[in-house]
């Protein structure tokens, strides 16, 4: 059986391989949320990870663009009600959204996918795929394969940092190579701007 691992564990695993996650904190009480807000300022995002719900947006476990303490308190109150949930507060960032994912095939091994559009990748079907391990050349080729490739050179004043994406993909490839128990992994969205590529959300399914 495959089941999702706890979000806190997933984030820890990513950071142990140097994969850049957006500034965040898992909060056990509202006080911790307030401290985070003081340190990082608004706007913020508050979300709950629950093993019972796979998709946060659909289950209303996600509050985006929280702009003051009153809204934060309201969101926290709602999420705190959910049993066995981990609540995460994070900085609200914007940029172009990608997704990076992994799938394991029982015969062929692990594959890495990069797509444009974040949560809309499935809609746009703009993605590239390679088998893990990948090298820098593979990673670059994958990004160039995307329809949005122009973003990496600059398009209407917007630019995405290609090297940051390549680094992230290579780190993920390394991570998966050492963690064969991973069956499915989504980093979605990964927000990319001129300077960096930051993972905003993660979900990992692994062998029991």
């Amino acid at each position: 059986m495959q089941k999702p691992i706890a979000a806190s564990k997933a984030v820890k695993l990513l950071s142990s391989y140097g994969i850049n996650f957006v500034p965040h904190k898992f909060c056990k009480n509202f006080g911790e949320c307030k401290d985070f807000a003081k340190k990082h300022g608004y706007p913020l995002v508050l979300k709950a990870y629950s093993p019972r719900f796979l998709h946060k947006t659909e289950a209303k476990l996600l509050f985006v663009g929280i702009s003051n303490q009153r809204e934060l308190a309201k969101a926290y109150k709602k999420l705190a009600k959910i049993k066995d949930a981990e609540i995460m507060i994070q900085k609200f960032i914007s940029g172009f959204e990608f997704m990076v994912g992994v799938k394991r095939d029982y015969l062929l091994g692990h594959f890495l996918l990069v797509g444009s559009g974040g949560i809309y990748t499935e809609l746009f079907k703009d993605f590239a795929l390679r088998r893990i391990p990948i090298n820098a050349k593979d990673a670059k080729e994958m990004l160039v394969e995307l329809k949005v490739r122009k973003l990496f050179k600059g398009f209407r004043g917007k630019k995405c940092n290609m090297q940051a994406m390549i680094d992230l993909m290579l780190k993920l490839s390394k991570l998966v190579l050492k963690n064969e128990w991973i069956a499915e992994l989504d980093l979605n969205p990964v927000v990319v701007d001129e300077k960096s590529a930051q993972v905003v959300d993660v979900r990992i399914l692994g062998d029991d």
């Binding site: 997704m99 994912g101 095939d105 062929l108 993605f127 590239a128 795929l129 080729e141 499915e184």
Partner: protein, 479 residues
């Protein structure tokens, strides 16, 4: 032929020692067997068992004997009634009814035959009953240490030794001569067509292998074997799915050494339906294979026609060492169409150098267009083509020759003139020509220069060669 025979024999004996030492693969021995038995030989010339026997009797350089229930000779050969009477057999070809196959293979095991090809159909492709039969068969193989190819297969064809276990009669199919292309196929029908197509296109074959249901010897092992096979330079592979976990690594390794051209059947099959992540729902089975093909430099054909187009180029032409293509044409419109495809596929139509223009303008009539496409115009004859080609090959990586044989000035002697230049330069040259008179196309292909009926197909073949060059030259480099 005798020399080949004895060399093969030596190799075989050597291999045999390795096997005794515990060498895991006995795949080579299918192709190097010099003593073959056909089990289930029939008197009826239209029956599978008869055709196989006839093919071997007529062409095989080794020894062939037959087993059949009666004792009346077939094709002048005395038959055995039991496999136990056949001595020193290295390879058994089985063409009896499915339900009799386990018993026959058991018999092979008892007399020490280690390589068996089961031609017979009627196994898992028919359902549960057949699946059980396969499991029984597999058990017998394990017990006796037999390597089994099939069932439900055409078996193998090795033109070099005339080792032909297919039930395809030479009267009905144009089988290829010996050459460097290996055909590997899951489907017998596609295999049969590929053989005929390559035979007609004068493309030589090192080994033809149809592996059918692959209950024992599977595609991955065969790929690995072909990767090491000295006679094979290009591997053509039709498949639907694979069975081995080693597949991905083997594909990657073999593709570093040899050009692999694949055609995959069953592309639309859905991936894992129960996928819960976004990644898994997008990355279906076929997408995974495609990803590997791209990553490991394997060329994928969209259909049989494209497969043949690529094989023709890879079997005969060297890889270009750059992307500069010259289109030499006597047909303006075809030239324009070819230019469009070149640009679309990333080939570069560099303009001719000053030196080239000066040189050609001295010897050419004024009305020819010294550009790229280089238009030798409708009154070009064989000599004009040769003169231009000789100069053009000096500064381009690959040449597309477009020829309209419908025009009065262009004669068939152009074939020999083009071939002469091509043999010296070691650069790819392909022809685009179309028309109802096919003899001249066959002449070109007999010289080893492929002909394509449309600019698009010709340019695609060139682009595929270039793509392979890029892969080979960038292999291992990390940018």
């Amino acid at each position: 032929m005798n020399e080949i025979f004895s060399k093969g024999r030596e190799r075989y004996l050597l291999k045999n020692k390795e096997v005794e030492k515990g060498c895991p693969s006995m795949i080579e021995r299918f192709f190097e067997a010099r003593n073959v038995v056909v089990i289930g030989v029939s008197h009826n010339p239209k029956k599978v068992g008869h055709v196989i026997f006839r093919n071997l009797v007529r062409k095989f350089v080794g020894r062939v004997c037959g087993v059949n229930q009666g004792t009346k000779p077939i094709l002048g050969r005395k038959l055995y009634t039991s496999i136990a009477d056949a001595k020193n057999v290295e390879l058994a070809v089985v063409a009896v009814k499915a339900e009799k196959v386990p018993k026959v293979v058991e018999g092979c095991g008892k007399v020490g035959i280690k390589n068996v090809i089961v031609i017979s159909g009627g196994f898992s492709e028919l359902g549960e009953e057949g699946k059980k039969l396969e499991q029984e068969l597999l058990k017998i193989c394990k017990k006796h240490g037999i390597r089994l190819l099939g069932p439900n297969t055409l078996g193998i064809y090795v033109p070099k030794y005339g080792l032909d276990t297919t039930f395809l009669s030479d009267e009905k199919i144009c089988k290829p001569r010996h050459g460097k292309v290996a055909i590997l196929t899951q489907s017998g029908a596609i295999g049969c067509l590929l053989l005929d197509m390559l035979g007609k296109a004068n493309v030589g074959v090192s080994k033809f292998i149809s592996y059918g249901n692959a209950i024992d010897v599977n595609a991955t092992e065969l790929l690995e074997f072909l990767g090491k096979d000295k006679d094979t330079g290009v591997i053509v592979w039709f498949f639907e799915g694979v069975k081995s976990r080693r597949f991905a690594e083997v594909l990657q390794e073999v593709s570093k050494k040899k050009s692999i051209i694949v055609l995959k059947g069953g592309k639309t099959k859905e991936g894992s339906r129960a996928a819960s992540s976004h990644t898994a729902s997008m990355a279906g089975d076929y997408e995974l294979f495609r990803a590997m093909f791209k990553q490991y430099g394997v060329l994928e054909a969209e259909n049989l026609e494209e497969l043949l187009d690529y094989v023709k180029a890879f079997a005969t032409q060297p890889l270009p060492t750059g992307r500069k293509v010259c289109i030499l044409t006597d047909a303006g419109g075809f030239g324009v169409l070819a230019s469009d495809v070149c640009q679309k596929l990333g080939l570069e139509l560099k303009l001719p150098s000053k030196r080239l223009i000066e040189k050609l303008s001295k010897v050419m009539p004024r009305h020819i267009v010294l550009s790229n496409p280089l238009d030798v115009t409708g009154d070009a004859d064989a000599e004009r083509y040769e003169t231009c080609l000789k100069e053009v090959v000096k500064e381009y990586d690959a040449i597309l020759l477009i020829m309209l044989f419908q025009l009065p000035m262009l004669g068939y002697e152009v074939v020999e003139r083009v071939a002469r230049v091509w043999r010296k330069v070691k650069k790819p040259i392909v022809i685009c020509s179309h028309g109802s008179r096919q003899e001249v196309f066959q002449k070109f292909e007999a010289c080893g220069i492929p002909v394509y009926p449309s600019p698009e197909r010709a340019v695609k073949a060139l682009a595929a060669l270039y793509q392979r060059f890029e892969f080979v030259s960038s292999k291992g480099k990390i940018c």
